[in-house]
Symmetry: D2
Subunit: 145 residues, 4 copies
């Protein structure tokens, strides 16, 4: 059982819109940054770039759903908790919960499929990936499965 991974984001002036809060379209971007950082962490160094370029494994998104609870600002670092909810035969579902100053800002679920990158064809993730993913699986509340 692994701890929940947290990716920290420095929200800046350039992320904000005239309402003085992070622009909505930046928030899924932050969530994807966090999921990418989770891959790098859980795999021991293999982010999407390495997976695609070095390992010919892609994980394109087929679905995302987000609820925005509270505005994001540059006043605090944004702490994004990421964990996998479900590992299917050829897909993986993630949960992301993003908070600032202990207040939930947004949360979402994201579904990716595993593909052979250069063929853009579904595949079962190789055993070593399944092995490093499983210890991170938790339910949507973050409780161990």
């Amino acid at each position: 059982m692994s701890d929940i991974f947290t990716h920290e984001i420095r929200v800046t002036w350039g992320d904000c819109d005239p309402a003085k809060i992070a622009y909505t379209a930046r928030l899924p971007w932050f969530a994807l940054d966090a999921i990418n950082a989770w891959w790098e962490h859980a795999s021991g160094g293999y982010s999407w770039y390495h997976m695609e370029v070095d390992q010919n494994i892609g994980t394109p998104f087929v679905h995302m759903s987000l609820d925005f609870r509270s505005p994001v600002t540059p006043r605090h670092r944004l702490k994004c908790q990421v964990w996998p909810l479900k590992l299917g035969d050829t897909s993986i579902r993630f949960k992301v919960k993003a908070s600032q100053d202990d207040k939930l800002c947004f949360e979402g679920e994201f579904v990716c499929v595993f593909i052979v990158a250069d063929a853009f064809k579904k595949q079962t993730p190789p055993p070593h990936m399944q092995d490093f993913i499983r210890p991170y699986l938790r339910d949507s509340e973050g409780n161990p499965l």
Copy 2:
């Protein structure tokens, strides 16, 4: 009854990732561009910037949900159909369907609330907004209500 509004996006090199397709985090951004263009069109010139700065009306997002059907590339313009699904007392729900070369690339639903911008407080949209919104309402298939 108004026609379905279509916003055209020029997808470019800089929108694409090493998989040679538009990066996933650009797609909700494109959808928001399309919704903003809908506001400009339906209101006769008032995009989010004008609504916030000139009219003190904000429409922050509280939810988005997207399904990705087919990759987006720079080979064709991206045609984003946008229409409101539901106008509530203090909220509005949009549908966005984005296609290239007559193939559906992604679709999603987006919920915004109406606020007094400088107070960040919910409000009922003023009558003139309700008036220009209603003729655009359609069901999730795009059929008139």
Copy 3:
């Protein structure tokens, strides 16, 4: 002698920062969008994506220099004039002048080199490229050479 090409950009809420003007880092991005659109226009449809993926020709930037004259806002479309200043053996220098409502907002110069894309190695641009580029050459004031 070809006319000066103008690329129009729809500046939006999401491009603006809390100062209610387009964020500085968006402006070189807009300039690059305009240069990419120039390529598409001058070549008869080949933007950077097509050049790289279909023709194995890359034009990476080695230099850019910009002067910011006046803020960019969503109140007007941004009109970006683009033309080549100089075509060298293995490089090309562009001028971009971006205006809103007939007021100069920023201008800049950009130098790119021609490479064999998959080898990342300098090359002389092929004759057909030289042919479509030359008629667009002008001096930094926009006067025909």
Copy 4:
């Protein structure tokens, strides 16, 4: 005399274009992130957001010039050294040098003016700002003045 400040950037998949390197328009963005981080560091916590919103001080850019020396990739963190080259009456000039794996990737100079934010009017920076800026001044090679 203060040490040269270094801001570290995690370059990701989403920053890269189909050439598998960070998209050129991301590089001035990274440089601005680094300059913003310098302000936060040198001032003891006041980034552009705080300066504008809490202190009514803006520092808009009037010029930037960049030379791109070597591609940026997600394989290494991008280390951006930032220091002020010159503090004028109403302006400041910065140098940014960005490296990966001890190799220079790009460098640039950036000029900002100090303004009263809500009046968009030039001003001399307040004494406390001059005081925290001066110890960081170095020449373009990074040698103490």
